[in-house]
């Protein structure tokens, strides 16, 4: 049979040389035959391959179409278990560097994605924790809520606000959007304030007006009443008190002096 194989190799080499227009070459032909002889030596199977070949021999080597049913069953039983071992062996071998490289690339992409998401989340949290931005959000929220709630009952809200302006000329102006529901309360406050001392008034006036609105504005009104309230608060209680009693009292004296003159 080696003669047949040799003649087949020679035929293949001759055909190869003929295709390359080198068919009359006397030196290349033995070199190609020598090169082709490299593939004639079959290596001994290793332990893992021998195990796989052993399953095949149990099933009957060379019997493909007429394989009996009984030997085929152990081979079929071996085949699901064998690929697991084979895959474990191949993945552990240094030959599968391509798969390992792909896995490493995938891992690097996942790491970069995770890092990006983490940095974005951290930046968002840091930005949200800033006081100014939070205040701006609360301002915006207040503006939106006041706009939405104030647009419907506008006629009702505007009515109680004017009475507060004569009651408090300084405080209601900045607090007015937040102090709208509590407008009657500061209107009553100046009525009780003039009974106490004058310096106690500035502390009492802003506290009911500011507490419903925003606590951050407490020091700001505190600075304002120090200069203003001493005069204003003295005038404020007098204005509501003086005109109210004078209006009923004055007409009476005006009519009375008319009598003595007569």
């Amino acid at each position: 049979m080696s003669d047949i194989a040799g003649s087949r190799s020679e035929g293949f080499v001759d055909q190869l040389l003929l295709e390359a227009d080198l068919d009359d070459d006397g030196q290349l032909r033995p070199a190609l035959l020598q090169l082709r002889a490299l593939g004639t030596e079959v290596p001994e199977p290793s332990a893992a391959v021998a195990a796989l070949l052993g399953g095949a021999h149990a099933a009957g080597p060379g019997e493909t179409s007429a394989a009996p049913a009984d030997p085929a069953e152990p081979a079929a039983a071996d085949s699901p278990a064998a690929p697991v071992n084979v895959r474990a062996g191949t993945t552990g071998s240094p030959g599968d560097e391509l798969a390992a490289r792909r896995r490493a690339k995938r891992r690097a992409a996942l790491t970069a994605l995770t890092l990006g998401v983490t940095l974005t989340a951290g930046g968002a949290v840091a930005a949200a924790s800033d006081q100014g931005i939070r205040d701006s959000f609360t301002h915006l929220n207040h503006a939106v809520t006041s706009f939405v709630t104030g647009s419907g009952p506008a006629g009702q809200r505007q009515a109680p606000v004017p009475p507060t302006q004569p009651g408090e000329p300084a405080a209601p102006a900045p607090v007015s959007p937040a102090a709208v529901p509590t407008a009657p309360v500061p209107a009553e406050a100046p009525a009780g304030v003039p009974a106490s001392d004058a310096p106690a008034v500035p502390e009492g006036v802003p506290s009911p007006a500011v507490t419903p609105g925003k606590p951050a504005g407490v020091p700001a009104p505190g600075s304002l009443p120090t200069a203003v309230p001493t005069e204003v608060t003295d005038r404020l209680p007098q204005r509501p008190q003086v005109p109210l009693p004078e209006v009923p009292q004055l007409p009476l004296p005006t009519t009375l002096p008319a009598a003595p003159h007569q």
Partner: protein, 187 residues
Amino acid sequence: MLDTLAQAETEEFENTAGADPAVLFAAAYRSFAGPVQGYLKARGVDDPEAVTQDVFLAFYPRIESLTGGLQGAKSLIFSIAHARMVDHYRRLERRPHLTPYDPHDDARTSPSAEEDAAGITGGAAAMLEGLADEHQEVLALRIVADLSIEQVAAIMGKSTGAIKQLQRRALQNLKAQTLKRNQANHE
């Protein structure tokens, strides 16, 4: 002998798409283990025997999805062998060459007179040295692995026309190289 056996088994497995994978594996090993080892030897891979076993171990799990009988198995096996060879050379590129000098490992010796006299295939493995990488690959796949032009084109990712051209140039270069060697040996 192996060629005729492989040819007979190839014809036998031609229409056995649903054959038992273990039987197909055994037939593939008997038919192609020698050519795979010869191909790896010709390409200068370290420890070709171990890599041959590794190729067949990687081939076994893919038998289930194999089509084309033994011819399909042949293409697949040499595709795996080609990938292992490429991995080998990539690994060599990354590996620094820092071996200390050892006179026993010095390869700069005169060729073995016994090999020259007997014409043993030991010199055949080094026959392709000096050729371009693609020329070596085409000759190894065509001559040692006994693959067709189409199969070589599929493995190397080129057109059949490109493979024919590569094969022609590789044979011409091999001829020139063989002439030089013969002249050097005569001198």
